[in-house]
């Protein structure tokens, strides 16, 4: 996994291969699973954000972060980790910006996966 900020990828395909082997069908299943989970968790995070429930935001971000790391969604994982730390600081303005970026990032993953399929 990349650790330098400028090297972070939207989707590092090597990561999931390293976890479950080079089996496209299985990998696609995990990707689909991740997108589903991301959508649900992102909505939960937004709802928690709008009622200033920073603890829940942190918990949800942490929850999704492990999945993101598993599929190689490096930039998403980075943003989720950032949300965790801003949640501890209760920095709502910063969390808002990261959520917006996270939303775009998930879109980018979705597009990349759709593109890969066709």
């Amino acid at each position: 996994m990349n650790t330098q900020l400028d090297q972070l990828k939207t989707l590092n395909h090597d990561t999931i291969i390293e976890l479950v082997g080079d089996e496209p069908a299985k990998i696609q299943k995990f990707h689909t699973e991740f997108l589903k989970q991301s959508s649900v968790i992102l909505r939960t995070i937004i709802q928690s954000f709008n009622i200033d429930d920073f603890s829940e935001i942190k918990s949800q971000a942490h929850f999704l972060k492990t999945s993101a790391k598993a599929v190689g969604a490096e930039r998403s994982a980075y943003f989720l980790e950032t949300i965790e730390s801003y949640s501890l600081e209760r920095d709502k303005a910063a969390i808002k910006q990261v959520i917006i970026k996270l939303n775009s990032e998930f879109n980018a993953i979705k597009k990349e996966l759709t593109h890969d399929q066709h």
């Binding site: 959508s39 937004i46 918990s59 950032t82 593109h115």
Partner: protein
């Protein structure tokens, strides 16, 4: 010299040196020795050696001869003969006539002073015949021997003109002379005159005459005239006129010969006209026919003018006649041809009219058929699209999903073609009516640009938008049709720029608004690309239905060629125009100009609120454009961050940073972090870096950035909360998402039959670890949290527990504590418990160990890591 001859001798200075006895007698006793000759005799020089003078009222003639000491002057009294001579000499001198004489035997030549002057020779210069000839122009030298010999031998008058070498073609001299027999032999005496003026005039007259003659001959124009003598008219015409009427030379002047040839139908008219002209002086002008002796009919045009004598009587008529038979015949042939052509054109027009009617009928039938079939096809096609859409939401394996996707795309394409066909038919049938709604130009630009932003980005095309916001006002017109035109052109730009042969892919959209008058405005949107471009030939065909730029275009880029045709017809309906410029392999520019009504409703001009704009480093062109957008919306304070003393209002609600240098921003960010609504605009290529480096800042690309988009971005940033509908992914995915439920172990799945327990609340991680274990040939029971995990452990015997640390209700730490406590109480051997955690800090590992966990796996768990853990803890216990 004899002293009886009156003479005197002078020196070179004409001082009298000697007087003969005869002269002394003639003059009296006066002593004139030593005196000046001119003063003594009041001399008047007549020619070089001959002078007249007087002494004591005695008129004298004096001839000069050179002698050894000076000159000898022969002096005679001047009688009346001499006066006549003097008169002659005066006349010759005053008329500038040179005289000469030539001795045929001795060839000696005498030229008077005037003759020498005329020839440009100094008076003192002696001249021979040969020398004279050498001065003559080479073309005229032969005249001298010719005329002289002919004169001497045959008595031909000696009279000719010649030129001199020195004066070239410009000066002419007339030489005249006659032979005289004298005792000392044959002499030719003559005169020499400058006749340049006369000669030039004669040459010019000859030239004019020749020119006129040539023109008349070339034009086959005959001339004729008549003069009146008493009451009789005497006729004459030239040979050309005679030739026109094929008359004999002896017929010239016999008017009856001409009258006889006149065509009987024309004769009375022509004769009467001629008589009237001669009588009244009116111009004679007639077209008539003549029947020649050989029966040939010729067509003649004659015109003449009458002249008057000093008494004012009509005394002459001069005219021309032209044979126009050839012209007449050509005109007749042309008339015939014209008539034939006219008939043919009429026939063809009628034929075309019929064909057009047939074509129009066929076109109408075609349009009706297309319209009907399109409608009929659309209904089932909508069903297909709906069904495919539903099918795509089903959980499908890879291959069927691909097939559904392909079918869906094809159906979408088909419905686009059908819609285009319906549009084209509607326009061609004149059934399309434009709607009128109030709209804003920026909204249109936003809708059009945002439609293609994503696809342009995917294709690596730089899409840039520049909106000139000056004077922009709400307008009225058919927004949907205007949008349709722009979407089509921008879509084409994307299509034809996304080619492998295009290196720099860029599309620029520029819009402007111009108020024409109080009611009308003109909107101009120009879309230029760096795509494949077109030749002038292909531009001409662009707006023809079913015609694409090149034959290969359809094959290479797809499309029906209907789009631009519809655009062309729509813009015509709107009263606008589409201007296309393009260069092959360079790109194209489509400029759409359309008139719209200005919405005249009352409108409040909103007050501009304040905004801080921080700049850092040199601003890119697109960031400068952002400043323009900002200034159209806000009262902007521009603050260069490099300044020592930053002057800005910290309480302003919106703060924009414009920069391309994220490293420099890192050094200034602490100054800005406390500000409200902080947004960064940067060039597209820097956005990703800025987003990661400053996750807490709102980062946007400065292109493509429309006015409306910009306004929306600022508005969203000013909201405290997040609206789900503004987050594309969240809202898009929400419909199809089902809340993921934690893993529910079913009894028939063999709960309790596996010897590994996985305690994990995240279903994704549950499946992941389950898959990894399966890959190693192992299976596990799954508990969704610590409480469930403890319960499973309590009711079943496991060899290994893999547990997440952070879980709701009872977490991994608490579960481990409970298990270790229970093991101690029941004196059971401790089960290996492996922490699987996303927190990778060293403290986490220590914590795990301290509460009784045996080992530690870091998420995401790699296959190799889980294998080695199992080798260590699972195989060992087996």
């Amino acid at each position: 010299m004899d002293s009886k001859v009156p003479h005197l001798v002078t020196n070179d200075c004409l001082q009298i040196q000697f007087i003969s006895a005869a002269l002394q007698t003639l003059l009296g006793e006066d002593n004139i020795i030593g005196m000046d000759l001119n003063e003594v005799f009041n001399l008047e020089l007549i020619s070089g050696n001959f002078s007249l003078g007087h002494y004591n009222n005695i008129p004298l003639s004096i001839k000069r001869f050179p002698c050894e000491t000076g000159y000898c002057f022969l002096i005679q009294t001047h009688d009346s003969n001499k006066e006549e001579m003097s008169f002659l000499i005066d006349a010759v001198a005053s008329s500038n006539i040179g005289v000469w004489r030539y001795n045929l035997a001795s060839h000696s030549l005498y030229l008077s002073d005037i003759a020498k002057k005329l020839l440009g020779i100094a008076v003192q210069t002696p001249l021979t015949w040969r020398k004279l000839l050498s001065l003559v122009h080479k073309d005229d030298q032969a005249l001298f021997p010719l005329f002289f010999e002919n004169h001497v031998q045959f008595g031909v008058p000696l009279q000719f003109e010649f030129r001199l070498k020195s004066s070239g073609q410009k000066s002419w001299f007339a030489l005249r002379g006659s032979c005289i027999h004298k005792p000392d032999g044959k002499w030719i005496n003559g005169t020499l005159q400058d006749c340049t003026a006369e000669k030039t005039t004669v040459i010019a007259l000859n030239d004019a005459d020749e020119s006129k003659q040539l023109a008349i001959e070339a034009g086959k124009i005959g001339t004729w005239r008549a003069t009146k003598s008493g009451n009789q008219w005497h006729w004459k015409w030239d040979m050309l006129a005679n030739t026109i009427f094929k008359l004999e030379p002896e017929d010239i002047g016999d008017l009856n010969k001409w009258v006889e040839l006149l065509h009987p139908e024309d004769k009375p008219r022509v004769k009467e006209a001629l008589d009237e002209s001669l009588r009244t002086g009116i111009e004679f002008k007639q077209h008539y026919r003549s029947i020649l002796k050989n029966g040939e009919v010729i067509y003649v045009f004659a015109q003449g003018r009458v002249g008057k004598n000093y008494k004012g009587e009509h005394c002459r008529i001069d005219g021309v006649c032209v044979d126009q038979t050839e012209i007449h015949n050509t005109q007749q042939a042309l008339k015939k041809l014209n008539s034939e052509l006219e008939t043919r054109v009429n026939d063809r027009t009628a034929e075309l009219h019929n064909t057009l009617q047939k074509a129009e009928r066929a076109n109408k039938i075609k349009s009706e058929f297309l319209s009907m079939i399109s409608h009929e096809l659309r209904t089932p096609l909508n069903g297909i699209i709906g069904a495919l859409d539903l099918l795509s939401h089903f959980s499908l394996s890879c291959e069927p999903k691909d097939l559904v996707y392909t079918a869906s795309k094809s159906a979408d394409h088909l419905i686009t073609i059908l819609n285009d066909l319906l549009d084209l038919n509607k326009i061609e049938a004149g059934k399309l009516e434009l709607e009128t709604t109030v709209f804003n130009l920026p909204t249109v630009i936003y809708d059009v640009v945002s439609t293609f932003t994503a696809s342009a980005k995917d294709k690596g095309i730089k899409l840039k938008v520049y909106e000139n916001q000056n004077e922009v006002q709400p307008i009225k017109g058919d927004i949907n049709r205007f949008k349709q035109i722009l979407l089509n052109i921008l879509g084409n730009a994307i299509k034809f720029t996304n080619s492998d042969c295009v290196r720099s892919k860029e599309i620029t959209v520029i819009s402007s608004f111009k108020r024409l008058n109080i009611y009308q405005s003109e909107v101009t949107v120009s879309i230029s690309d760096t795509g494949v471009g077109m030749s002038n030939e292909t531009i001409k065909k662009l707006f023809t239905p079913f015609t694409q730029a090149e034959k290969s275009t359809t094959r290479k880029f797809g499309g029906t060629g209907l789009g631009l045709s519809i655009c062309g017809k729509l813009i015509d309906l709107m009263g606008g125009q589409i201007i296309v410029t393009s260069e092959l392999n360079k790109g194209s520019q489509f400029t759409v100009k359309a008139p719209f009504w200005v919405e005249l409703g009352e409108k409040d001009t909103p007050l501009k609120s304040a905004l801080n704009c921080f700049t850092l480093g040199k601003l890119s062109h697109d960031n400068q454009h952002v400043i323009q957008l900002l200034q159209s919306l806000y009262t902007v304070t521009i603050v260069p961050l490099e300044c020592q003393d930053l002057m800005f209002d910290q309480n302003i609600g919106v703060n924009i940073i414009l920069t391309s240098d994220f490293k420099s921003l890192l050094t200034h960010i602490d100054t800005l972090n406390s500000l409200e609504t902080l947004m960064v605009y940067t060039d597209l290529e820097h956005v990703a870096n800025f987003e990661l480096t400053f996750p807490h800042l709102a980062v946007f690309s400065n292109q493509p950035l429309t006015y409306t988009q910009f306004e929306t971005q600022i508005k969203i940033q000013q909201q405290d909360n997040l609206a789900l509908d503004e987050l594309e992914f969240a809202i898009e995915s929400s419909d199809s998402q089902q809340v993921q439920t934690p893993f529910q172990m079913k009894s028939d799945e063999g709960f309790g039959h596996h010897d590994i327990l996985l305690v994990e609340d995240n279903p994704f991680n549950q499946k992941l670890i389950q898959t990894q274990l399966a890959k190693l040939g192992l299976f596990c029971d799954i508990a969704n949290n610590g409480a469930e995990g403890f319960s499973y452990w309590h009711s079943h015997t496991y060899k290994l527990i893999l547990t997440d640390c952070h879980m709701p209700e009872v977490d991994g730490y608490e579960m481990t504590k409970q298990i270790r406590t229970e093991e101690a109480r029941r004196e059971k051997p401790p089960i290996p418990i492996i922490a699987v955690t996303g927190a990778a800090m060293q403290g986490e590992r220590d914590l795990c160990t301290s509460i009784g966990m045996n080992d530690f796996l870091c998420k995401p768990v790699r296959l190799t890591d889980i294998r080695s853990i199992l080798e260590r803890w699972y195989e060992h216990t087996a």
